[in-house]
């Protein structure tokens, strides 16, 4: 551990305050270029503990950087010199207050500069723990998969995440999510070839398939499980909701948008932005 815990605590606090107060914060890596991935996860744990101590509940996890399209987008647009290794997606925590109910609208003023991603969500019916968890273990432990929207809202100015730790400290931009209505066993859908298309205000903007997520989204959940084990000696509790990462590149939201994503064999999910 290269960095004083006090500094990590301070950065976690700044990120959390940005989220609560709905304002942009300055990047960390310019001031602390030495921060690495492990520092990032330690700070993220401190951030989670702050939230838990206030009575908030963790309901699941999210993965970032799991799709080729998203990695290309991050590399092109979002980061300042951050390297996202293809085999190590980043992990964030989902809290109870982040969930939008099925008929809820997305109120733009409650966010800083939100973007939306269409993803496949897993809900576990038993715990996954340890270094020896792989895709088939995930399949066996999954109650159902369902379409999901994730709302990402980096606290960093202009969504610019730099260095190896900034995004991780900032809970990987996690801010909201919504789940679809159709639930199926992962054995009853095509986890690779399931087509997914997204339309904004009636015009298609995203064309992809579930296999965009690491070739098979269950691999992403296994990777999440191993990351939580390595970083925190923790597992994925039964009941966890896991967002496996954007299938298509993320999309900026503006007032009046109506977004719909169709998942082959798994129904549709929609949201109105007000």
């Amino acid at each position: 551990m290269s960095v004083d815990k006090k500094i990590l605590e301070e950065l976690a606090h700044i990120s959390l305050e940005g989220e609560r107060g709905n304002y942009e914060i300055e990047p960390f890596y310019t001031k602390y270029p030495e921060l690495d991935r492990n520092d990032g996860y330690q700070a993220q744990k401190l951030r989670l503990d702050m939230q838990l101590s206030e009575g908030q509940r963790r309901v699941g996890f999210k993965l970032g950087g799991t799709s080729l399209a998203k990695r290309k987008q991050v590399a092109l647009e979002l980061t300042s010199g951050a390297y996202i290794p293809p085999d190590a997606p980043t992990v964030g925590q989902l809290m109870d207050y982040m969930r939008l109910e099925e008929d809820a609208e997305l109120v733009l003023s409650e966010y800083i500069h939100p973007k939306l991603e269409a993803e496949l969500a897993f809900v576990l019916d038993r715990e996954l723990f340890g270094p020896n968890v792989h895709a088939p273990d995930v399949m066996m432990a999954t109650a159902y998969v369902t379409p999901a929207f994730e709302i990402i809202d980096s606290r960093f100015r202009d969504f610019k995440m730099g260095g190896k730790a900034d995004a991780i400290i900032d809970n990987v931009s996690s801010r909201g999510f919504k789940l679809g209505r159709v639930r199926k066993s992962p054995f009853d859908v095509d986890m690779t070839g399931m087509g997914v298309r997204t339309s904004f205000n009636g015009a298609f903007t995203g064309y992809s398939a579930a296999g965009a997520v690491m070739g098979h989204p269950a691999r992403a959940v296994a990777s999440l499980c191993r990351t939580m084990y390595e970083q925190w000696n923790a597992g994925l509790p039964a009941g966890s909701i896991i967002l496996t990462g954007a299938i298509c590149p993320s999309h900026v939201l503006t007032r009046g948008d109506r977004v719909i994503s169709d998942f082959e064999g798994l129904g549709s999910i929609w949201v109105n932005v007000v």
Partner: protein, 263 residues
């Protein structure tokens, strides 16, 4: 029409020679900057005439530039089309000599086998489905015959028979109403690494809409699409260039997979 018949015939001859000898040709728009779409299709017509003279038989048509990804790559906004030949069709998992191509690349799309003519009034996507015997996944082996060291325009691609090189046809067909082709997922791999992922809607919002577009183009010029024609409806992914030793594979969800090896 801005080019003379002699110029068009000469360009047709040069392009066909390029196809047969696998040597690059200069994009005609470089020589005839004012050339228009009509000139381009006339040159392609000359190319097709020469294929037929050499004993090739028409399999059907291909639609190009249907995906927003491909149009972005080409900086253009309209689909185009070319003619495809039975003698250029390979079976699934086939081996294809790269030396037969100038600059090969691979696209993934759906093929439609028609069982009825598409004639009469404005053709709708529903008309296309009614006239379709089956749909099958395909790889198209595109060949860019024209030099890349000078700018290429969409008319150049049209003149080059829409860059048609060859195609690989999948094994298992489906009936037209069995699946929503707009939601077929495409997982496209180059040498066993994922290169791109897409779905059917990337093709003009729906592959059936692309075939309807083509049917209307040919209906308007009095040469409607006929029963028995095989239509390559356009790629849902941006093409990857190919070389000897390369393997390409696309998995099309419930439609199965198609692969090709360049040797």
């Amino acid at each position: 029409m801005t080019m003379t018949m002699e110029e068009i015939q000469e360009q047709g001859r040069l392009h066909y020679q390029s196809i047969q000898a696998a040597v690059p040709v200069t994009p005609p728009s470089h020589l005839y900057p004012k050339m228009d779409e009509e000139d381009a299709y006339a040159i392609a017509g000359e190319v097709v005439r020469r294929y037929l003279e050499d004993g090739y038989t028409v399999a059907g048509k291909k639609i190009g530039l249907t995906s927003s990804a491909m149009r972005r790559l080409g900086g253009i906004y309209e689909p185009d089309y070319g003619v495809i030949f039975n003698e250029c069709c390979y079976a699934n998992e086939g081996e294809v000599p790269a030396a037969g191509f100038v600059q090969p690349a691979v696209e993934a799309e759906l093929g439609f086998r028609l069982k009825a003519d598409l004639t009469g009034r404005e053709i709708t996507p529903e008309d296309v489905l009614r006239a379709t015997e089956y749909v099958v996944p395909c790889l198209e082996l595109v060949d860019v015959r024209q030099r890349l060291d000078v700018p290429r325009k969409v008319f150049d691609s049209i003149a080059d028979n829409a860059s048609f090189g060859a195609f690989v046809v999948g094994d298992t067909p489906v009936r037209p109403y069995a699946i929503d082709f707009g939601l077929v997922g495409y997982v496209y791999e180059h040498n066993n690494r994922q290169a791109e992922v897409s779905c059917g809607a990337a093709v003009l919002d729906h592959p059936v809409k692309a075939v309807a577009w083509l049917a209307n183009r040919f209906r308007e010029i009095g040469q409607p699409l006929r029963a028995g024609e095989f239509i390559l409806s356009g790629s849902a992914i941006a093409m990857e260039t190919a070389a000897a030793g390369d393997n390409f594979r696309c998995r099309y969800g419930r439609l199965g997979e198609v692969s090709v090896n360049f040797v």
